[in-house]
């Protein structure tokens, strides 16, 4: 078997594996989506009571909730809030 044939064989095998893996991932996702879209059998749930917004600790000027609103969603999503 020439080097080219070996490379070809490896490449084609890797493509088949990648496709199979992608297919199984999308199937898993669609199964999960179908499961989550099933209507609930029980009575409609009441919306949970909203937690009060965390208040900034006294003297914590650098971590005000106002600052968080001003930041973009990426920053807000990544920020670790000090409890």
């Amino acid at each position: 078997m020439s080097t080219k044939d070996k490379t070809r064989s490896k490449l084609m095998e890797s493509m088949r594996k990648t496709k199979a893996s992608a297919n199984s991932t999308s199937e898993t996702k669609s199964t999960k989506a179908a499961a989550s879209s099933k209507p609930a059998a029980s009575a409609p749930k009441k919306a949970p009571a909203r937690k009060p917004a965390p208040r900034p600790a006294a003297g914590s000027g650098n971590y005000s909730s106002r600052g968080m609103v001003q930041g973009d969603s990426y920053q807000a999503g990544r920020r670790i809030w000090p409890d």
Binding site: T3, K4, T7, L11, M12, S14, M15, T18, K19, A22
Partner: protein
Amino acid sequence: MPVIALVGNKGGAGKTTLSVNIAAGIARDRRTAVLDADPQGSSLQWRAFTEDENALDVYEANGDLSDQIQDLRQQYDCLVIDCPPSVHAPQTHTVLRSCDLALIPVQPSPVDLWATVHTERAIEQAREVNPHLRAILVLNQLESRTTLSRLVREAAEEIDLPVAKTGIRRRAIYRASALEGKSVFDLGKRGADAADELKNLLEEVMN
């Protein structure tokens, strides 16, 4: 009028280079603009280097991308969109739902080919909303002497998307043209071979 998106799931595949050069090729006989939807802003940077007042219009994506595409579609005969290097990016998501043709550059590398499998899934999903979306793989940066360049077409055919017959060769002139803020169409004899290749590609994919 056509909206063409350069899409892919991997950086360095040639989306920006092809966006700018394809747009320049189309601009020879149609009013054409580039919309840079990639936060890296490489197409905008390319435009900033040019000293030619008549160079292509390049727009930065801002506000509602879908609305911006519709506005530009009305202003120009053709719009070329340079997407971020991820099919999971919200910009790519929006563009695939608004464009007519997605060109997917694929380098002769296993990593590029594997990444393109995910692009195929994104195209399938976009077609649920945008059923007329055409998508074509463009073999890019081909090197005549390497084994992978010879095998890439066969491997790409494993993906359920058509592959353009015209492949784009790896050429130093693309890098040189970016440094001058020009396209290969602006470089006369120096860019002639690359320009001919792109003309062939455009003829193939635009019809």
